[in-house]
Every structure is written in C-alpha cells, then in structure tokens.
C-alpha cells in the first residue's frame, strides 16, 4: 500500500537525494540512509532527546518527524559541529575537557541542544543552560559536568570573538 517517496534533503550542507517509505522517521533516514550515525536512537518516542537535530534552524527531535517531512529542508546533525577537517569543534572539545561524557549515549543530543543555545545566546546563565538541555535525558553524569562543559564552550567562543 505504501509507495516510496522521493526526497531531497540538505544534511550538514550536503545534498542528499533518496527514496523513502512514508513510515520512515527522520532519525532512521539519517542513520540508515544518509549514514549519519552520530544521531542516536534513544527512546524513539520523543522523550529522551538523544536524537535531537537542527531542522530548518531549530532544534527538534528527529524521531518525531517523518523523513518525508524533511523534503526540501536543511538538517544539521552532530557531525555538523566538527571542524571542516573532521577534528572536534569548540563545543565538542569543551565536552571532552570538562569530562561531560560517561557512557556518551545522550551526548549527540546534548551537543545539538547546547549548540542551538549558544547560537542565540553567547552568554547563557545557569538557568538558560538548564532550560536548554531540559529536554535531554542523561542517566550517567548527573548533568553537572555537561553544564560546566557548556559554560566552558560559551567562554571559549566569546574569547575567540574578542
């Protein structure tokens, strides 16, 4: 009953064209069709935030979007946060330096949410950071190092501008 639908998506600036069945989520499209496995499948029902991506400029959960809905849109995944040569970007480096990862499963979503925050607020308060990652669940760290990492990244990004 379900025909495939041709879609055209810009992922981290690269144009990707493929055919998808309607029931494929954007999350599965990114992982299995586009090969962008940095985006993690966590709860797959919109609760944990591990699958967060930037969709047309805004952070969203890729498990709660259909791939067909991304037709003609731009998506930025966690892979888009690294430098052009593939080395970790400022935010990723801050996560490493602040020991923000334990198992690391939630981190792609955390990075994407933190990136969205820093893009609109260069000097976020503690409350701003808590609000920004409020939709991302981490079961290891207790969030303290993650918050510190985002503060560290904010400081480094501001210094880089001066």
């Amino acid at each position: 009953m379900t025909d495939t639908i041709h879609i055209h998506v810009s992922i981290n600036g690269n144009e990707v064209t493929d055919s998808v069945i309607p029931r494929m989520t954007l999350l599965d499209f990114l992982r299995y069709k586009a090969g962008m496995t940095g985006t993690h499948a966590g709860c797959e029902h919109g609760v944990c935030g591990a699958c967060s991506v930037i969709f047309d400029g805004d952070p969203v959960r890729s498990c709660s979007l259909l791939a067909v809905q991304a037709n003609g849109k731009s998506v930025m995944t966690v892979e888009g946060l690294s430098n052009a040569d593939g080395t970790p970007g400022t935010l990723q480096e801050a996560f490493q330096d602040a020991h923000a990862m334990q198992c690391g499963y939630c981190i792609p979503g955390m990075l994407v949410s933190a990136h969205a925050l820093l893009a609109r607020n260069a000097a976020p308060s503690l409350e701003d950071i808590k609000e920004a990652i409020g939709g991302n669940i981490c079961r290891c760290t207790g969030y303290v190092q993650i918050i510190e990492a985002i503060q560290l990244a904010a400081t480094r990004l501001r210094e880089a501008l001066e």
Binding site: M1, R23, E44, G46, V47, D58, S64, L65
Partner: protein, 292 residues
Amino acid sequence: MKPAPFNYALAKSIDEATSYLADGNGEAIVLAGGQTLVPMLSMRLARPELVIDINGVDELFGIEETDASVIIKACTRQVTALNSEIVKSRVPLLHKAMHFVGHFQTRNRGTIGGSVAHSDPAAEIPLAALALDSEVELRNVNGSRRVAMADYLVGPLMTAREPDELLVAVHLPAIVPGVTTATSFHEVSERHGDFAVVAVAAQLTFDGAICTKAAVAFGGVDHTPVRIPEFETRLIGQTLAYGVPDAALDLIADGINPGSDQHASANYRRRVARTLANRAVSEAAVDARSGA
C-alpha cells in the same frame, strides 16, 4: 519501534486536507507538529491508513486578533505562541501556560491546534483554552462550525471533532481593556515540561479589591480539563488576596474525579488541586491589587 505502514499525503490547502479527510472514512489522521502523533505511530498505538500532513498549509499558520479575541491558527508552533506579544498582552493566561508545555525541541514543532485536537486530560493548552471560554473552529468539506471548549472536550483524548473534520483554529477571548484582570497558572509535574499531575489555570476580574468574575480550570484531575461552577461562584464578591475561604475550597473535591496511577493517587491529586487553586486564585488577587 517502527510505525506500521501508512500512506502519506501532503496537503497544500485546508480544502485539500478536508477532502483527504472526507475520503479517509475515519482511517485518516492529521499530522501537525507530530510531537504526539509520530510517537503514537512508532508505538503502534495509532495505525491509520493515511497520514495527512498539514505543515504545508500556509493558511493554518499565524496568530490574528479582533476586537474581542485572539485567533490562533491550528498549525501555529507552540514556540510562536509562547513568544507572541499578542498572546502575552491579550491572552496572558495562555502565555503563562505555554511555559509549562514540553521542552524547546518539542515546542519548535508542536502546535497549538495539535494539542487541542489531541486533548490529553493533563495538557496545558486545552486547560487554558477551557478557562478562557475559547471556541474551536472545525471544518469539513461542507463547511465550518465553532464549538465551545466545554462542549468540545468529551473524554480522555476524545473530542466533539468528527472524523472528517479538521481543526483549523482556536478562538480565545481577549482580556477586556479597562477591566482589572489577573491570571495565574500553577502546575505540579514530575519534571518540568512533563504533562501535569495536576494543573490549575485561573483568570479573575476585579472591581477594586473585589472579585467580579472568576474562571478556574483544573487539569489532570478528571477525564477532561474541568471547571467547577459552584467554586467559581463562591469567589465572586470576595477579596481573595489573603487566600481563598475554606468554604469555597471545600467545593473542589466534589467537582473533580481524579484517578490513581503510577504518578499519584486520587487523594493526592485532590489535595494538590485544592492547594494549587488557592495559590493561583490568591496570586491573581494580589497581582490585581498591585496592578501587576
């Protein structure tokens, strides 16, 4: 967890969407923000034959105002409503409620119409809409009708919307200029952004320090968000800034029908409803007095 197969239609206009719904024989479902529907598809709690995507329907986006009301089109994102100056100044109760709705990743996609269409008994947007005496505008291929929230909310996840009808807008009465109006929204939930265990939305008008009109809606404590007319009537003529009289608060327990689940017992919900109602009403009264 993958959805069962379905067909997909991208509607470009309201007419196109309603004609897909008419052809769907009740087996079609409308996709707005997808923050509830796509998880329901993934968990196979929903197994429609056809998913009608309305994200391409320009006429379903935006916030309009008239002299008496604010009209929020169905596909307006929750983040847009949260940041809207019109909503903040003319339907401040909804503005306050929006702070409790999900997280910013979900508000970026989630819609006002989607929340009202789904009508979870613990969701904040239908609760605020009920407190405001809002109306839901529904349309099918034959025409449109407007239904008062009180009649629209039928049961848990059940509404007066017929299977062939599309929810196109929510009409929210604006506060009346020159009348002292105060609002308050309080909620207890397990984590910020979760559905409410109990939530209370209150809008009161005052003449000096005296309450002249009261609307208080309760969420999470019945099959739908509910109002308790006896309770509201008891607030009129009172000052309320030092708390709601016990005689009024005593009317709440009989006006709600909470259930017990893994989140809270029915008795706990009754007590929280009473506490939050007292808090919301007296906060509104204090705000009205201080001109806030």
